[in-house]
Amino acid sequence: MDVLRFLVGGILPYVAAVVFVAAMVYRVYVWRKLPAPSITLFPAPETGGANTMNTIKEVTLFKSLFKGDRLLWAFAWAFHVVLALIFVGHFRVFGNVDSVLMSAGMTEGGIQLMSGGVGGAAGIVILITALFLLIRRFVIPRVREITGIADIFALTLVGLILITGNMMRFGAEHFDLALTREYFANLVTISGVSDAAVLQNNVFLVHFGLALLLIIYIPFSKILHFGGIFFTHPLIRKP
């Protein structure tokens, strides 16, 4: 068991970081160098700047999906926005950003309220939206017939990470913020983490391990869409 804890807590983070960065850099490099003849779709922006603005709208507001499928848009957009929120929120777990927040005028109580209130709500909302995304894969024929194992796997993986995350907030095995920050500090400075106390928390171990697997999985799966979207939209709207 200790070997597993060491592998997940001491080795996997570095593997994940290297694989993710290398694979994504490679992807972007390949995409950029491939020839891109014009396949403009109208209405098209008239300048390169407007095209970039359009891509930003697509990435942040899911503009095309809003037009194409309003219900999916509502859930998918909520899912991704909350996901981004949760991602940002994790910086408070990785490191001590409280002092930064306080110097920006937030009180200790305010930070707690934001973490517990907004963070807690986010954990619930994203679970609901993820569940919706999963259910529609089985219920709507046009989605069911194109759903593969990889689609279910991706959602399940994300779902498990969300559930274990929520368990640490709402469940009995609440994680220790100070210990976690200490662990990440050692991880980043490569100062040895094999004896980190936080790794004894089973829920944390599962949550963290699956998150690392997800990070490794991204460049090799449909989740690559988070990078591809920056390239596909400018292509069809090239002025």
């Binding site: 995409w31 499928d69 194992i149 990889a150 090799f220 690559l224 869409h225 979207i229 596909t232 292509l235």
Partner: protein, 471 residues
Amino acid sequence: MSDVELKQEDLVTAKKTEQPAPAESKEVMAPEEIKKGVVDAVRAIKDGPRAMRLYMETCVKCGTCASVCPVYYGKPEKRYNPAERTDIIRRIYNKYETTSGRVFGKLAGAEDFDPADIEEWRNIFYECTGCRRCASNCPMGIDHSVITRKGRAILDKLGMTPDTMAKVVQISLETGNTDGAGKEAFLGAIDFLEEEMKDEHGIDIKIPVDAKGAEYFYVPPSGDVLVNPEATMGVAKVFHVLGMADKWTMSSKCFDGANYGLFTGNDGDMKTDNKLYVEEARDLGAKVMLMGECGHAHRIMKMMMEKAGWWGELPFQITNCMQWTAQRVKNNELQFDKSKNPQPVTYHDPCNFGRSCGITEEPRAILNAACADFREMTPNRSDNWCCGGGGGLSAMDDIIDFRMKVSGVKKMEQIRATGATYVATACSNCKRQLTQMMEHHKADITVGGVHDMLSRAILINGKAAEREDYM
């Protein structure tokens, strides 16, 4: 359809003599040979074009494309789901070109190509109209028509383009037009049109042919000369009214902008066909190539040939006859008697004009000026539904059942909802599909062009055409 995968070498290899003989003597290919052809072509996607490779890697299978697809609307079956069609190619790509596919196989959506499937490919890749409505609505910006065209290109390289389609390309490369008409037939048609106009207006209205040095070179689809000639009369009348009757010309060699290389996925054929027209424009010394009411022809000239510079610097501009006329309407240079077109008229945006060229307001300006009761169908412009005959399908009578009962269903509902008795559209493919659909549904709705309506209402010396036999 899309112009991804244009390569210079295609040009060199694409001589019409090297075309696989379509209708006659098709040799049966060995399964291994078919498999090699398909797999090699799919693997080549890793080297681009960029769109194609991204489409292999970024689809999230959300199903939005299916909900906006005219074919899937007509019959919601898996085989008509755009994401599924693209996945046919993607599964092979995953099998050979992705780490996850090589390691995890089917679990990662990877599957080898089975040569027995090739006959089904010949159907499936001709069940997408290439209308690009999916691309307008896809959250990932995936244009499935790019993959449809890739599938067709693979078939074409194997000599397996459906016979009806292959025949049109062959005729076009042999005669310069998709109807296979010779110079005599063209000149005969032009004479006929001049006589018609004389009957209508009692004066001579010229259609100049092969006039060197004319400023404008008009390139309609051959259908607008031989099948639905009113549009060409409309253009002639505009030039006449503006006192520019000697400033334009048609060509007895190049009177069909239609170019089916776009539809078969064969870039070599597309360029061979296109080059003929560009050279003719150069020979004539035209300053403006005035494209007719033909969406894909305009798209190939303006959005593909000109943008990518296939033939270097062009000594002429490319514009569409609807843009040109609409500008004259706007300038109040043309007058109309709207009472000549009293019936409710609607406009069907051809996908290639609406979504692929951004020409949506000009036909409306002309129709609004020439018709008493113009009505929009909903949705319209770049959101318009395909007629069901796009991507060259309209020329394939062997799949007319599919076109009438599947791909055209939505369009028929849309047209009916307007209450219009005349559907104007600016594309020979749309016109053919829509005309057949009205016959199929025994609907009392006429299908025609934009300049057709102009031709009926435009005032020449203060008078519109005198005719009884319209509508």
